[in-house]
Symmetry: C2
DNA sequence: AAGTGGTCTAGACCACGCT
DNA sequence: GCGTGGTCTAGACCACTTA
């Protein structure tokens, strides 16, 4: 017992390898149910926990996901393409269209969990605005749900003195959104910086995006600048990495 | 026994939460050792597997990493900043400098596992070059190790007929690298497209980058275009997400 | 040599979903 | 109702590091 030394590598890894290869060979397609714990215990003659470890490995790799009471299923990957630069070109939001219309053609977008409030700026935000920590900022947080699947959590920070009284402090910012309003206020965004990180989600993020185990998130932190390096907005976004491909097109 | 219903959520989650909060509160700093399995069994009065699950959860979140025979330790996050657009501006490689010099100032970069060969183009690559599947391509794969830590795996594909006989087919491509040579050959890259995905690593990627559990990878697929949409190179990169922040700067 | 995490067994009860 | 995955116990041996 516990003689793991048979084939040089752990039993659960060998079982996981078998399943992985079967998936990649197409024996199990997206959405198909994989052999369950009981199946694996029988076919590989192992204990419960060992079969579980094998299935758990596949889930941690993002290849499979479990549904309680139903089984473990092969995952699908059909991402949205988010064109980082074109979507923020002036004509997008200049003409009253949401910058989202570029990404979501022909699909159903719902924005929910909208919350607009004013609070003291967290340190990292205050630092960008070059204001003292604790200066008031307008905070707009939202969730984007595409065809029933939550794909993005967004939290946007703007200096409160800049936007007070404008539609930006309302839930509905009107045609063209925040950037159109900033333009009207004399702070037209002319330059953007996007910082991209990738990591495993926090518990809040996992539940907010309805992520299954083994799905990382993409963090995009976008800073919008009015002319001459004047930052007017910081937007922190959390994206379901299984729902997105980011694209940046630029000249040498 | 197995009365998990005490506090509404699983025991291992409660233990993980305790540790997570302690980490975020700074009680355990980067590199510090967390309480081990035996500690947790004693302090929380649980079985081995339950303590393991708690520590496993933290590792899957990327918050901690285990070292066999030593313990579980809080992870650090000190990423490189990769400026996607500036690093590919003409003056970088035009002057004989590697585009890497922009990222790695003052650090030790080693390139190893260099392999240059010719093979038939995989389907996705042939599609980009608009050649028939199986057309010959020059494949350059390398690994970049920064201060002893592998951070990036790169595989670059170029049409074989375009580069045959040039230094691009050598291990050392000379000053300015592949892009300087392409320019000399009359295929100056003038436009780039980078596609970014994020997912959990394959086993090969995890071992090649020496990743610990719970670390996703960033995939960058860059296509370089000579004038008028003529693709001349496809570079597929796998980045350790704990080592990188990507940055894209652009005008509206 | 002692302690650590990695793997494994053989049982158990639970909540959930539906073949 | 029955099978599913989710959680948990109480043991065990192993390989590795030296905190």
């Amino acid at each position: 017992m516990a003689t793991q030394g048979n084939g040089r590598q752990p039993k659960y890894q060998r079982i996981a390898d078998t399943l992985r290869e079967a998936i990649q060979a197409g024996e199990y397609g997206p959405g198909d149910r994989l052999p369950g714990e009981n199946d694996l215990m029988a076919t590989h003659d192992v204990a419960r926990m060992t079969a579980r470890q094998a299935l758990g490995a596949l889930q941690n790799e993002g290849l499979a996901e479990s549904r309680k009471g139903a089984g473990v299923f092969v995952r699908d990957f059909k991402p949205l393409r988010r064109r980082g630069i074109q979507r923020l070109s002036r004509d997008q939001w200049g003409s009253g269209r949401s910058i989202w219309s570029a990404d979501t053609e022909g699909r159903t977008l719902v924005v929910d969990q909208v919350d607009v409030s004013e609070m003291e700026a967290p340190e990292r935000i205050a630092k960008v605005f070059e204001s003292e920590t604790g200066a008031p900022v307008c905070v707009r947080s939202r969730r984007f749900v595409l065809d029933g699947k939550p794909v993005l959590l967004s939290t946007s920070y703007l200096p409160a003195d800049l936007v007070s009284g404008s539609a930006i402090t309302q839930e509905d910012t009107g045609p063209g959104g925040t950037y159109a309003r900033l333009t009207e206020l004399g702070y037209k965004p002319v330059h953007f910086r996007e910082e991209i990180r990738c990591r495993m989600p926090s518990r809040d993020e996992a539940s907010g995006l309805d992520l299954s185990m083994g799905t990382p998130v993409i963090m995009i932190c976008r800073t919008a600048f009015a002319d001459e390096n004047h930052p007017v907005e910081v937007n922190e976004m959390i994206l379901d990495s299984a729902s997105y491909v980011l694209e940046y097109d630029f000249d040498a």
